[in-house]
């Protein structure tokens, strides 16, 4: 736990120091790394700890983007709009989770991905509010692109820190223990007194919270949103892949996964412009076959071999 926090601190400082390099491309990539870290850390709460494979990430990001854009267009200051979008998204997730979390496994996965589609259709049909397929313009931040680039990097960076802090809190708390129990055996968790419905809803809401913030920030960043970009199916798939790549159910896994995913995306995928979605499919398949516990799971497995089932217990091995 302490080591994870130290490693994360070094990583966060490195991301924060990127503007010193004075390279705009690097700055943009660092912003993406911070953004995906925040999303992956959030997803890990429901997908990793509780074991509910949610594909609703893009629904929350998109909702946050629209809520933030509408609030900003209504005259709210940018940061206030971000906070408002965060709260709206969390409230939506809490209500949605109460119904959606009755489903398990594949059913939950399909149910959650349908939320992305439903919201996308709402956004493109409700032209009076959302501008429909034409999208919405968001006020451009004054101060020039270079200044704006830094502001959005530090905004995403701050969300990443908040997401990590909430993950640390969950990891140490009763909630985190309860979620791990639910992941292993939901009925048995119920039997030992875990308030299963409440805990799952809490995890789902927490997992949506910072997605809403990220959505609102990126709406301000690109200053234009449209339904297909805001509710992106590709994003909803990418984030779980990142967590699986790093190691689900751990503190550092999502961070490692998100950072290395952005790296892979930039170095390899830009060379396969036409086939990058096929490459994503390939990464998923390879992950399932070779890294079921993610990078971290692999490292741990090397460090400490799994206990052989049925082996005689070493006398006096109790702590």
């Amino acid at each position: 736990m302490k080591r994870s926090m130290a490693i994360f601190a070094v990583f966060a400082l490195a991301v924060a120091a990127v503007p010193l390099a004075g390279d705009n491309y690097l700055l943009q990539q660092a912003t993406f790394v911070a953004m995906y870290c925040a999303l992956a850390l959030s997803w890990n709460l429901i997908g990793g700890y509780a074991g509910y494979p949610s594909f609703a990430t893009a629904a929350f990001v998109g909702l946050g983007a629209y809520a933030g854009a509408l609030l900003q267009n209504a005259g709210l200051p940018m940061v206030a709009a971000w906070v408002g979008a965060t709260l709206i998204t969390a409230a939506f997730a809490a209500l949605l989770g109460y119904g959606l979390l009755r489903m398990k496994g594949h059913y939950f996965a399909v149910g959650s991905i349908s939320i992305v589609e439903v919201l996308r259709l709402v956004a493109s049909s409700w032209a009076g509010l959302t501008g429909g397929g034409e999208g919405l313009n968001v006020p451009i931040m004054p101060g020039g692109p270079e200044f704006a680039g830094r502001v959005f990097l530090y905004a995403m960076w701050a969300v990443m820190l908040l997401a990590f802090a909430s993950a640390v809190w969950v990891d140490r708390s009763r909630l985190g223990f309860g979620l791990r129990c639910i992941e292993q055996n939901e009925d048995a968790a119920d039997m030992v007194g875990v308030p299963v419905t409440r805990y799952k809803t809490a995890a789902f809401t927490l997992s949506a919270l910072f997605c809403g913030t990220v959505g609102a920030i990126s709406a301000s960043w690109v200053s234009y949103i449209a339904p297909t970009d805001a509710f992106s199916i590709l994003l909803t798939l990418k984030v779980p892949v990142m967590v699986l790549l790093g190691g689900p159910g751990s503190l550092l896994g999502p961070v490692i996964g998100a950072a290395s995913f952005v790296l892979i995306e930039q170095t390899v995928w830009s060379r396969f412009l036409d086939y990058n979605q096929a490459a994503l499919g390939l990464v998923i398949v390879l992950l399932i076959f070779f890294l079921p516990g993610g990078v971290l799971g692999r490292l741990r497995w090397r460090a400490k071999p799994a206990v052989q089932p049925g082996a005689a217990p070493a006398a006096g091995s109790a702590p």
Partner: protein, 248 residues
């Protein structure tokens, strides 16, 4: 006699057209070891499921410590002090043995913190004799050890009433002897025990009272001697040979 810990009144549960538990009423006095016996399919596990909120009763009522708990859900039952073991044990397979028990101490046992829960859990592991396996994944345990783990988990939940569903099934006679001692030690802590059991040796050496279910109905209750002499019980469950042996 003190006020009953658990009052069951006219409890009924139907699955389709079959009444798995039919109009069952009884009181459990605190501090006793009560055996629940009956042939296979008599409704014993269903009755335990009704008492712990796994199933909802179609009619009838349940009172625990004077409070109506007929509509409770499993986690509420666990938090009130009604804990149980399963006939088919249900561990958290990839968690360590210690963490499995810690879960019981942390939630139903209402430990103040995860650290406190861990300490309580270790004490229970010592009590059931599993302390040497504390760090093993639960899935790696043998059947007798899993049953002990299940017991340690239930005890960590600080129960007032412990329902044991065939904790001795599948154990050999030496292991059964140890299990009987363990159940006695649990009762000595002041925990009321309701025991589903098929082994008459265990039932007669351990239980203060017996409840006999047959086709979902309670056909007899009372001391083991009285129940063993009851012609209805002999016909439905014990058989004449066994009853004669008991009388001898």
């Amino acid at each position: 006699m003190s006020a009953p810990l658990l009052q069951v009144q006219g409890l009924t549960k139907r699955f389709g057209g079959v009444a798995a538990v039919n109009q069952v009423s009884f009181d459990l006095a605190p501090g006793r070891i009560v055996g629940l016996i009956g042939p296979n399919g008599a409704g014993k596990t269903t009755l335990v499921n009704l008492i712990t909120g796994v199933h909802r009763a179609d009619s009838g009522s349940l009172q625990f410590e004077g409070r109506d708990v007929t509509q409770q859900r499993p986690f509420e039952a666990a938090c009130r002090g009604l804990s149980r073991t399963f006939q088919i044990v249900q561990p958290f397979p990839r968690m360590s043995v210690l963490d499995n028990v810690t879960a019981g101490a942390l939630f139903a046992g209402k430990a103040a913190s995860p650290a406190q829960a861990r300490a309580d859990a270790m004490a229970q592991l010592r009590f059931v004799g599993l302390q040497a396996l504390a760090d093993r994944p639960a899935a790696s345990l043998t059947l007798p050890s899993r049953k002990r783990l299940e017991l340690a988990k239930s005890l960590a939940m600080r129960p007032r009433l412990l329902l044991l569903d065939e904790v001795n099934a599948g154990l050999n006679s030496a292991e059964i002897g140890a299990a009987i001692e363990l159940i006695r030690a649990i009762a000595a802590q002041g925990i009321t025990v309701l025991l589903i059991e098929h082994l008459m040796k265990v039932v007669f050496s351990l239980c203060d009272d017996l409840l006999v279910l047959h086709h979902g109905e309670l056909i007899a209750q009372g001391s083991p001697q009285a129940v063993a002499a009851d012609p209805k019980v002999i016909e439905a469950y014990l058989g004449t040979k066994y009853a004669e042996r008991m009388r001898a």
